[in-house]
């Protein structure tokens, strides 16, 4: 049996050791309980909670989701009970579980991220925090934290100061210089980086002549975005030294392997769970079987293997830049 275990916070004494590298993604697995009936949650490497905010949120008006070619758009609007409501309900349940629970936090001000991190720091049943920086920074006129290296680092630093819990910072694919943001959050104290969050998209209802979603725009996820996600993981893996958690459109083992080969030490699976909840455990089983067959003893052997030579740390924004631009020109 090959070794599937991975530590996502090797620089952190509290460490974040997963028995396998398959994680259920934020917003696609509720609080873990929703799926307890249809699958064996204990088999997972970990799961990430729905995004929690400082105050309760009732979310966006309906419709909130719509299907797109090989993908979906969502504009849930972070419906959640708020950090206080969350704290009362879930940690005590998770404490009795063997699978690590990671809490995803979202906020519109740096202090609010820190506030939530401080609250989570002391709680049992919580293995780590995933910081969702794809949120509007109210102080910056609604400009997205995750699009800017400086603002991303500010959030990371504030959360780092507020907790010793393992910290995964989740990057936004809307950032033009994804490598620059990655380096900035690494420098600011992130234990690991996860990517990608959804791309911003829109569908229009031709009959009503209005955007399908009440919120107009929504987050695009699913297989449609996989090539963008793999590219970004590949680029970020060429630059940072902390572990990377890759995601975006994983629908089975082969997709997960693309992310490992691109440089991810673990993967998250989101949208695919909706279509095939059984897929999570299937990927874990098939990964073990594949490694056996290929004679791979430990996952580390293939992480980043698609890189011709893993380059040393490069200057922000320069990874594959020429390639990238040239190719976009067909």
């Amino acid at each position: 049996m090959p070794d599937l275990a991975v530590d996502l916070a090797p620089r952190n004494p509290r460490e974040l050791v997963l028995k396998n590298p398959v994680i259920a993604a934020s917003g696609c697995f509720g609080y873990g309980l929703e799926y307890a009936g249809v699958m064996d949650v204990a088999r997972l490497g970990a799961f990430v909670s729905k995004g929690i905010t400082p105050k309760p949120r009732s979310g966006n008006p309906m419709p909130r989701i719509t299907e797109t070619p090989a993908g979906m758009l969502n504009a849930i609007g972070l419906q959640n009970p708020g950090i206080r409501g969350f704290v009362k309900k879930y940690p005590r349940v998770w404490e009795t579980w063997s699978v690590p629970a990671i809490v995803n936090i979202s906020a519109e001000a740096v202090e609010d991220y820190a506030l939530m991190a401080r609250i989570l720091d002391e709680l049992p049943g919580i293995a780590g925090i995933e910081v969702n920086i794809s949120c509007p920074n109210i102080a910056a006129g609604g400009y997205c934290f995750g699009w800017d290296a400086g603002m991303s680092a500010d959030v990371t630093r504030a959360v780092r100061a507020a907790t010793t819990l393992p910290l995964i910072v989740k990057l936004s694919p809307g950032a033009m210089d994804i490598v620059g943001v990655a380096l900035a959050v690494e420098e600011a104290g992130a234990d690991a980086i996860s990517l990608i969050n959804t791309l911003v998209g829109m569908s229009i209802d031709v009959k009503r002549r209005r955007p399908v979603l009440a919120n107009a725009t929504g987050g695009l996820s699913g297989p449609a975005i996989k090539p963008v996600a793999v590219r970004m993981v590949y680029q970020v893996a060429g630059a940072v030294r902390i572990p990377i958690v890759g995601m975006g459109g994983i629908m089975g083992l082969d997709d997960a392997l693309e992310f490992f080969l691109a440089g991810a030490s673990a993967v998250q699976i989101g949208t695919a769970i909706f279509a095939q909840p059984g897929m999570l455990v299937r990927v874990i089983d098939e990964l073990g079987a594949w490694m056996d067959k290929e004679g791979i003893a430990s996952l580390a052997e293939i992480v980043g293997a698609a890189h011709p030579r893993r380059p040393a740390i490069v200057e922000a924004g320069q990874v594959g830049m020429v390639d990238v631009a040239e190719v976009a020109a067909g």
Binding site: V38, M39, K50, M62, I65, I76, G222, P223
Partner: protein, 261 residues
């Protein structure tokens, strides 16, 4: 408890003009626990294709615990249902279910009125059977575009009063099924409705205008786009007087008066 399972198609019977009544196998013992109003979610694409991506919800039309089977009523509409309607006996479907809550027959109810629009007919047949088994009286109103779009009378339990309406008047009342409702308002203790949103709005108008002292109560099966089917994604919520409720776990059946329309 919901499970993801492979159901084998045992029969495909053409009904209601363009629709198909499909008989599908269930895991042993599941049928007995399924109740009227619940639904299943089916993966409607070939292996290896990722489009269309999400499952499609279908109401349970009926179950047979003896043979461990259920029946589904599928109307070919868009890409998912067209794929499903093309499946053949012997093929298997990837099914998640049973999902959702159920129609609730009040312990004090004697007379039940069903109001069905199009494929909304599906869960109300099963509910009628459950009501008859309890010795209750059932009237089943159904509306459709044309005579052929209606559920054949043979598919409705014989002890049920079956009254129909068609848009073109080719059978029964010419007009909306909701036009028929006022006649039954004083008789019915409860109304159960399943159909398009426009039908609910019209039903609501009729009931609000005519009912006395909040009787009859009305339960509706609300159709929302869904992703997970398990209350995890929060994509299918309905605003109720007590806040946002998922239509896959807290629904699809809602008390009409609870919903913020």
């Amino acid at each position: 408890m919901a499970r993801e399972f492979d159901g084998e198609i045992l029969a495909c019977e053409p009904v209601m003009g363009d629709s198909t009544l499909m008989t599908v196998t269930l895991p042993r013992g599941m049928a007995g626990g399924m109740v009227a109003g619940q639904f299943v979610q089916i993966l409607t694409r070939m292996d290896g294709s990722h489009d269309p991506l999400l499952r499609r919800p279908y109401s349970v039309y009926g179950v047979d615990p003896d043979t461990d089977t259920m029946r589904l009523l599928v109307r070919p509409y868009g890409r998912g249902s067209a794929w499903l309607a093309e499946r053949q006996v012997g093929q298997t479907l990837d099914i998640l279910g049973p999902l959702g809550n159920a129609f609730q027959i009040s312990p004090r109810a004697r007379n039940l009125l069903m109001v069905a629009g199009g494929v909304g007919a599906a869960p109300l047949v099963m509910l009628s059977e459950q009501a008859l088994a309890r010795g209750l009286s059932v009237t089943y109103l159904m509306g459709g575009m044309r005579a052929e779009a209606l559920l054949a009378p043979a598919l409705v339990p014989a002890a049920v009063e079956y009254v129909v309406a068609t848009d073109d008047g080719s059978r029964g009342h010419r007009g909306f099924v909701t036009d028929l409702v006022p006649d039954y308002l004083s008789w019915a203790d409860q109304i159960f409705a399943c159909g398009p949103e426009a039908m609910f709005l019209s039903l609501r108008g009729v009931v609000m205008r005519h009912r006395v002292g909040g009787k009859p109560t009305v339960q509706v099966s609300v159709e929302r786009g869904m992703a997970c089917g398990l209350g995890a994604c929060l994509g299918c919520v309905v605003e109720t007087k007590r806040g946002m409720r998922t239509s896959c776990v807290d629904g699809p059946i809602y008390d009409m008066d609870e919903v913020v329309w």
